[in-house]
């Protein structure tokens, strides 16, 4: 069977009320001028003040236990909050990785001391994390990481260079995947994760500018960085399982199909009230139909995750379809409402938003697992079901 049987999608009543609260909050933030309505706001919208105000409302670390500063809310409530933020193009980049990945990872794998030290600060919007996984020779093939973690008296020493480390120049900590056992036979064995202070001696951050000139990515050099025993996250040698166990969360969320929605909203805003052709209506309707279907799929994965399943193949489906949609949306909007993309136009104006979304379009189908690799996972999943 190739059928994906998702449970019926229904959000609980508290989630509906929460959506209205988030919309009110966003309306207030718009009046403050903090929301640009730009595409890709989770990737490049870094605004620590916005993150702190969001945290004050209890909307960072929502699913964490209260004793670690969290709010013990369900994954679907978190889903509602983040989809509202992304659809609005709100600047959620500062806390994004902490909230989505680092926090849950520390909760699952960390020591009591690590949890009490990092989680409350994350949930308060005061502590921001990066993820140091990829390297020069380890992109899609993550098991090829060469950064070394050596045992030294009293702790560990890390040596190597991470690449594409987003936000390493502005964030506080990074979770680093390193090889701690060169002799391990299986290439997936002998990997471990560490929490590294991005201001520690021996850490050197070197920018890699995007094709738009923006500074998001970095080389993250670890020149013999000395760490205490308590820097190890999870069990020594268990890094691969820890990293891959969380991929469904990372791949199926609303950031995998909503990254460019603010551009469509901007186009519709410009068209509303004007004479619109049937062709324009149909093209917009087609995007809306696809958006709606993608959201149903993504929510289905969220519900499966909440129910304790491991919907890895379904998550890959969401990511491949959703990120292709993000790029297709940009191209469709060009046809629906032609304009010269202009990065120098007034920030937030349609030509500027178009330029921004367009210049980011190569990333959509690359990050979080290159789509060609994901399609391999999906095709294998298809065989297993047949």
């Amino acid at each position: 069977m190739t059928s994906f049987d998702f449970p019926p999608v229904a959000l609980p009543e508290p989630a509906r009320r929460l959506r209205e609260e988030v919309r009110d909050f966003l309306a207030a933030e718009r009046r403050r001028g903090t929301i640009m309505g730009r595409a890709d706001s989770w990737f490049t919208g870094w605004d620590a003040g916005f993150s702190r105000r969001l945290a004050e409302r209890g909307w960072i670390g929502m699913t964490l236990p209260k004793r670690y500063g969290g709010h013990e809310r369900g994954a679907l409530e978190r889903y509602v909050v983040i989809e509202e933020l992304l659809a609005a193009g709100a600047p959620v980049g500062a806390h994004w990785i902490s909230d989505r990945q680092a926090g849950p990872s520390i909760l699952r794998n960390g020591t009591e001391r690590q949890k009490t030290r990092f989680l409350p600060e994350m949930a308060a919007g005061r502590c921001f994390f990066s993820i140091g996984m990829s390297e020069e020779h380890a992109g899609s093939d993550l098991a090829s990481v060469r950064t070394r973690g050596e045992r030294v008296p009293g702790g560990w020493r890390l040596t190597g260079t991470k690449k594409w480390t987003g936000g390493a120049h502005v964030n506080d900590y990074a979770i680093v995947l390193a090889r701690t056992d060169e002799a391990a036979g299986d290439r997936h064995a002998g990997l471990s994760q560490f929490i590294v202070d991005l201001r520690a001696p021996g850490v050197r951050i070197e920018p890699i500018k995007l094709l738009s000139g923006e500074h998001t990515f970095n080389y993250f050099h670890l020149d013999g960085v000395e760490l205490g025993e308590d820097a190890l996250l999870g069990a020594e040698g268990d890094g691969w399982r820890q990293v891959t166990g969380e991929l469904a969360w990372e791949r199926s969320g609303p950031e995998r199909f909503l990254s460019t929605l603010p551009l469509l909203v901007a186009a519709v805003r410009k068209l509303a009230g004007t004479t619109v052709t049937g062709e324009q209506q149909a093209r917009i309707g087609r995007l809306v139909a696809r958006l709606h279907a993608l959201r149903q799929l993504s929510l289905g994965v969220a519900m499966a995750l909440q129910a304790g399943q491991s919907p890895d193949v379904r998550a890959a489906v969401v990511k491949d379809l959703g990120t292709r949609f993000e790029g297709e949306l940009v191209n469709e909007v060009r046809a629906i409402l032609p304009a010269v993309p202009d990065p120098a136009a007034t920030p937030g104006s349609y030509p500027e938003l178009l330029a921004f979304a367009l210049m980011h379009s190569p990333a959509y189908t690359l990050r979080g697992g290159t789509n060609e690799i994901l399609r391999g996972i999906i095709a294998r999943g298809g065989e297993n079901r047949s």
């Binding site: 809306v288 709606h292 379809l321």
Partner: protein, 344 residues
């Protein structure tokens, strides 16, 4: 769920839908769910009929005709049913000589009607015991039962050979007990139900299309290994599986949305998406099947020819996308996201 259609929908049966549908209906009728079943249960059966390319008006009867008759307060006859809307001339059969003559003529002493006009491409009309017709009478929106024997039937078919018959009505009398005054809302609901029924069939057939393709690439060998071992094949096969899952998600949402305030949006989105996905799904399925899929040597044609027809029937992707677009553009930009999220 064991399928009532699986065993009966052999290649010979599916290849000649017009000839095999009446016999097949007699075989499955008793196993079909009762009109009281939930939309979800009815849709599951209709999707299964789509999956097996089962000949006969299963989706038409279960998801459109029976519920529309019930909603209109008309009796639900046994037997296969279909539905039609069209530009008909409808007048009172028994004008009241006492009434004042208005723009629509005299009022009637009862709702017995005389109807003329053409109903185009009615699904399975030649085998149906009754057709539920939704239109306009002098007194407003109307639903009535038409015995196809009272019309002149011109046979027609779609790409898969499924009957799509044209019914010419010449001064056909419809007795009052087969007529009900209804509402604009019921006319709109009929169109939504028809689109949903078609989308549910598409979801079933699309799934079959994907499964046949996966079977083929797993067994067919070239250069000494199964096709599925080639990266290029995997990439396309994944896209096929994905697009099938996407349209299924849209259709499931519409099944849930029917009968709620979200029916209009979810059904429009489902039929728009289901129809839109077919180009990609059938392209990949045929490409990966190679020449065999293009011929009668493969069962693939049973689903792809139906998909190519069903995407246009009961509103194409263009039609439903435009309706969605009008909803989005009718107000202002800030309605777009609320429209999408109001579903759940």
């Amino acid at each position: 769920m064991t399928s009532v259609f699986a065993e009966l929908s052999t290649d010979d049966v599916v290849a000649a839908p017009a000839d095999s549908a009446p016999g097949l209906w007699r075989a499955v009728a008793a196993a079909l769910p009762a009109p009281e079943a939930t939309t979800g249960e009815l849709a599951a059966v209709a999707r299964d009929a789509g999956y097996h390319a089962t000949p006969g008006p299963v989706a038409e009867t279960l998801l459109v005709a029976r519920p529309v008759l019930t909603a209109a307060g008309l009796p639900v006859p046994d037997g296969p049913l279909s539905y039609a809307t069209g530009d008909l001339r409808v007048s009172y059969a028994h004008p009241d000589p006492e009434s004042r003559v208005g723009p629509f003529g005299a009022a009637g002493t009862d709702h017995t009607l005389r109807v003329s006009g053409t109903l185009h491409r009615v699904p399975w009309a030649r085998m149906c015991s009754e057709i539920v017709v939704v239109g306009d009478a002098p007194f407003g929106p109307v639903a009535f039962l038409l015995d196809p024997g009272d019309a002149t039937l011109r046979p027609g078919g779609n790409l898969a050979g499924e009957p799509r018959d044209t019914l010419a009505l010449t001064d056909v009398e419809i007795p009052a007990h087969r007529v009900r005054a209804t509402s604009r809302a019921l006319s709109a609901e009929t169109a939504l139900r028809a689109a949903l029924a078609r989308a549910v069939l598409i979801a079933g057939a699309a799934q079959r299309c994907a499964e046949l393709t996966i079977q083929h690439t797993a067994t067919r060998e070239q250069f000494g290994r199964p096709l599925r071992h080639f990266q290029a094949v995997k990439q396309e096969e994944a896209k096929l599986i994905e697009e099938t899952a996407l349209l299924r998600a849209a259709v499931d949402a519409a099944v849930t949305g029917l009968g709620t305030s979200r029916a209009e949006f979810t059904v429009a989105a489902a039929k728009a998406q289901a129809s839109d996905s077919i180009a990609e799904i059938t392209r990949i399925a045929h490409q990966l099947h190679g020449a065999i899929g293009f011929t009668e040597l493969s069962s693939l044609r049973f689903v792809t020819t139906r998909l190519w027809s069903w995407r246009d029937e009961d509103g194409s992707e263009q039609h439903w996308s435009q309706r969605l677009g009008r909803q989005v553009l009718g107000t202002d930009a800030d309605r777009l996201w609320p429209l999408v999220t109001a579903t759940t």
